[in-house]
């Protein structure tokens, strides 16, 4: 079938737009503009210590955003990441403080607990055909309740495990380059982002992530075991939530069982600002990372400018709507 190749991708730029990279560029540009704007507005903003504070504040939300990005690309949604994070932290508390087991077992427990929770959500969605919104809403409440039950509603402190707070607050980089004491929590965020981006773009699991979000029935009819892959994606997402659980527990040096609700919405907001489509099929880890950074920069910058916390929330909401509107405008023009 001899058909001309005039529509074939011509330039890198054209392909970037076609694959939705445009929105990521837009988000990145917004981030730069915010950074410049706040630096001009306040001399205290562009200080190394403040930059590190912003990165540190991004770490938990960033890791959660990465986790939920995977699920959103499949066309799903995960409302349980906030309380799942707390649940993982509580289980770590049980392993380390109650049972007094070594640190590495606590780390494995957090990640395995997250993966297990993801496995449950994935099974509800893939096998029992419960819509992701409902399945993860249920998981959100179950895990919130379980955290309170297991901990007896009291925080679990990690005072007996001295190395634990180093996970988030120590600085491997600072030991090598004392000038830039970037905390381990930030390092972990970037490592998680790098590994997940690799999985998403270079492995079969990532390919099916996009394929499921694009046209699930078509993938199924191509002979792919879609249920199994979907469960695997939810499990991977859960494992990443487990890492977020470690980060927050380490930062607070305790597992706070009442914490968690609201984190899922912040994570989803970061994903959306980063240009991932809520209808599935399109999205990127880099975008979600930038989205989480934008949110942290906004909060921090407005605080440096002494804007009341209430107004910070209002601004974040407006940014979400603007980000999605910009994406809509772009799509309408290219349609």
């Amino acid at each position: 079938m001899s058909i001309s190749t005039q529509d074939a991708p011509k330039s890198v730029a054209a392909r970037m737009i076609a694959t939705g990279t445009h929105q990521r560029v837009l988000a990145f540009a917004s981030l730069i503009i915010l950074l410049i704007g706040f630096s001009i507005a306040s001399p205290n903003f562009m200080q190394t210590s403040n930059m590190i504070a912003i990165l540190q504040a991004t770490s938990v939300n960033g890791v959660l955003a990465i986790a939920v990005t995977l699920v959103i690309i499949t066309g799903g949604i995960d409302l349980s990441v906030g309380t799942m994070m707390t649940f993982c932290a509580v289980i770590t508390g049980v392993v380390l403080t109650y049972a007094g087991l070594p640190l590495w077992l606590g780390v494995i427990a957090a990640i395995a607990t997250g993966a297990g929770c993801g496995l449950c959500s994935g099974t509800f969605v893939a096998k029992m055909k419960i819509p992701p919104f409902i399945a993860t809403l249920g998981m959100m409440l179950i895990l919130k309740g379980m955290s309170l039950v297991i901990s007896g509603t009291r925080p679990i402190y990690f005072n007996d495990t001295p190395g634990f707070s180093e996970i988030s607050r120590g600085s491997l980089i600072g030991q090598i380059f004392p000038a830039v004491p970037i905390p381990n929590g930030v390092l972990i965020l970037f490592v998680v982002a790098g590994v997940t981006a690799y999985i998403l773009n270079r492995t079969v699991l990532g390919r099916y992530c996009f394929a499921l979000g694009s046209n699930e029935e078509s993938v199924r009819l191509s002979g792919v075991n879609t249920d199994r892959w979907k469960i695997a994606i939810y499990a991977l997402s859960g494992a990443i939530v487990g890492i977020a659980g470690l980060l927050i527990a380490s930062r607070l040096n305790s597992a706070q069982p009442a914490l968690g609700l609201g984190y899922e919405l912040e994570a989803i907001a970061a994903v959306v600002i980063g240009g991932t489509s809520l209808s599935g099929g399109r999205g990127s880890i880099l975008g979600s990372l930038i989205g989480a950074l934008i949110m942290a920069v906004l909060t921090n910058g407005l605080r440096v400018l002494s804007v009341a916390q209430e107004w910070q929330t209002v601004v974040t909401g407006a940014i979400i709507i603007l980000a999605v509107y910009a994406d809509m405008l772009r799509r309408r023009r290219s349609a």
């Binding site: 079938m1 001899s2 058909i3 001309s4 190749t5 529509d7 074939a8 991708p9 392909r15 076609a18 694959t19 270079r202 492995t203 079969v204 699991l205 990532g206 390919r207 996009f210 394929a211 979000g213 694009s214 046209n215 029935e217 078509s218 993938v219 199924r220 009819l221 191509s222 002979g223 792919v224 099929g281 399109r282």
Partner: protein
């Protein structure tokens, strides 16, 4: 001899429908076996059973003489059975190569993808089809025709011994169909057995060796394609003779003008289009794919913005900025893509018919009058002969032709003066087609102005009182309908490109 595939006494039931009643079918190596029947006859269902998508409720299936029960698409693929679906089923957010080899991506250790090998293998398949397409092209950016070819490449990548093609030419133009048939002949020569489903009768004579006809879920007959006249096949399909007479067109030249369009323009798609339609008239729109006919309809209906131009309804200029304005002005548009744009497929027949007229079924307190809706729905089901077990059946469970009738019922109820039909019989079989033609004529006789956009010339010629022809966004001429105009006349106008000088200027 043993058959490549043999199916005997196949039974299948869906809620409220006995879809297949003891159907038989067989396929030899190296033949094209056409499967024909009206919409809802059970062709697609039978093929989905063969391809492992549906489980059969009864009957036997053999591949090379051995009994088989494919219970998944993968199992059927392993038996060498591939299927190209009627509805395009590609993933728009993935590249052509990622689509073609989905589920069989070349992998390296730890589940890592070998993207280079993926693109190379796909390029080889494309080359074997003489399809010049970059494997890295995003599928969503491609035309329907090109997507269809990617779908075919995907099916061929399994090296199937049996290939089912469900209406592969529905969206292709003549040149593309010729190329497709070349591919089919090549596969035949390689000993592949091909099941070919199509509603285009002319294609059957060109490509098929044998024809099996189904009607209402039952097996009717298998005949030789070369020696059986088309009329005989049609008669087997519909179970009765069809009237072939071109009706006398009424003289509508003195009727009042219902819709007038002056100098309508939108970018390069629509350039300075002017025409009028009178009450009681059927105006056909002919042209090649991409000539701008659908675009004109969408602008008139307010679905797209116009750069310039005027729209007059009943002699009064109206400012149509949205479909809502158009409906208020008495214009209805029946989209070519009824599944996505014309129907709420998960809702009942009754709800869909009432959809755009809910105000008339609402009491002063704002409560919907279900009884009145049911009465109206039942009357349209009866009048348009919509084949459905009840007015509460979900629309997605109906066949294509019956879905189209539901859309028509919806707009009839709206009582529009101007109705625009975009490909009203796409994917609809011969029997249902003549019913829809009769319907359109009846609507015109009632004094409505009808615009019919169709890519099938015989359809335009059969229906239209006048024929407007478009080429590259321009209206190249309006011809009288009836015997005075030949296909040749229309094609001349449809290919009347602007001179090379103007082309260069535009580019």
């Amino acid at each position: 001899m043993t058959f490549l595939v043999e199916m005997r006494g196949i039974e299948k039931r869906f809620p409220g429908v006995h879809a297949l009643k003891g159907v038989q079918f067989d396929l030899r190596a190296g033949e094209v076996h056409a499967l024909m029947g009206e919409n809802g006859a059970g062709k697609s269902t039978l093929m989905k059973i063969m391809a492992g998508i549906y489980a059969r409720d009864g009957g036997e299936m053999f591949v090379n003489g051995a009994p088989v029960t494919p219970d998944s698409p993968r199992a059927a693929q392993d038996l060498g059975i591939g299927i190209i679906h009627q509805e395009l089923s590609l993933m728009n957010d993935l590249t052509a190569a990622q689509n073609v080899l989905i589920g069989r991506e070349p992998r390296r250790s730890f589940g890592r993808l070998d993207e280079a090998a993926l693109n190379r293998q796909t390029a080889e398949i494309f080359a074997s089809l003489s399809l010049a397409l970059d494997p890295r092209t995003m599928v969503g950016t491609q035309t329907i025709a090109r997507q269809q070819l990617i779908e075919i490449a995907k099916a061929l990548s399994y090296n199937p011994r049996v290939l089912v093609m469900d209406e592969p030419t529905a969206a292709l133009n003549d040149a593309e169909i010729t190329e497709l048939f070349a591919v089919i002949n090549k596969l035949k020569a390689d000993g592949v057995g091909i099941v070919y489903i199509s509603h285009r009768m002319d294609e059957i004579k060109r490509i098929a060796d044998r024809v099996t006809v189904l009607r209402d879920g039952a097996y009717i007959d298998t005949v030789d394609a070369a020696t059986t006249p088309l009329d005989k096949i049609i008669q087997l399909m519909v179970g009765r003779d069809l009237a072939h007479v071109i009706p006398e067109f009424p003289d509508t030249s003195r009727n009042a003008v219902a819709l007038e369009v002056r100098n309508l323009s939108r970018g390069r798609d629509v350039r300075g289009v002017s025409f009028d339609v009178r009450k009681g008239e059927i105006l056909g729109f002919a042209g090649l794919m991409g000539a701008g006919r659908t675009e004109v309809a969408r602008i008139i209906f307010g679905a797209d913005k116009r750069d310039a131009g005027e729209i007059l309804v009943g002699g009064q200029p109206v400012d149509i900025r949205s479909p809502c304005d158009a409906v208020a002005a008495g214009i209805g548009y029946l989209s070519e893509d009824r599944k996505h744009l014309g129907l709420a497929v998960d809702m009942s027949v009754r709800a869909n018919i009432a959809m755009s007229s809910l105000a008339t079924f609402t009491s002063k307190a704002g409560i919907l009058n279900e009884a009145a809706m049911q009465k109206t729905a039942l009357s349209y089901i009866d009048k348009l002969r919509i084949r459905t077990p009840s007015d509460l059946q979900d629309v997605r469970l109906l066949s294509g032709g019956n879905q189209q009738k539901v859309v028509i019922a919806k707009w009839l109820l709206r009582d529009c003066d101007v109705l625009i039909f975009d490909e009203p019989t796409r994917g609809i079989d011969v029997g249902a087609k003549s019913e829809i033609y009769a319907l359109l004529e009846e609507l015109a006789a009632q004094g409505r102005a009808i615009i019919v956009i169709s890519s099938e010339l015989p359809e335009v010629m059969r229906l239209s009182h006048r024929i407007a022809v478009m080429c590259e966004g321009r209206l190249t001429g309006i011809l009288p309908g009836g015997a005075g105009t030949s296909q040749q006349d229309i094609m001349t106008l449809a290919t009347q490109r602007e001179s090379a000088v103007v082309e260069a200027e535009d580019a």
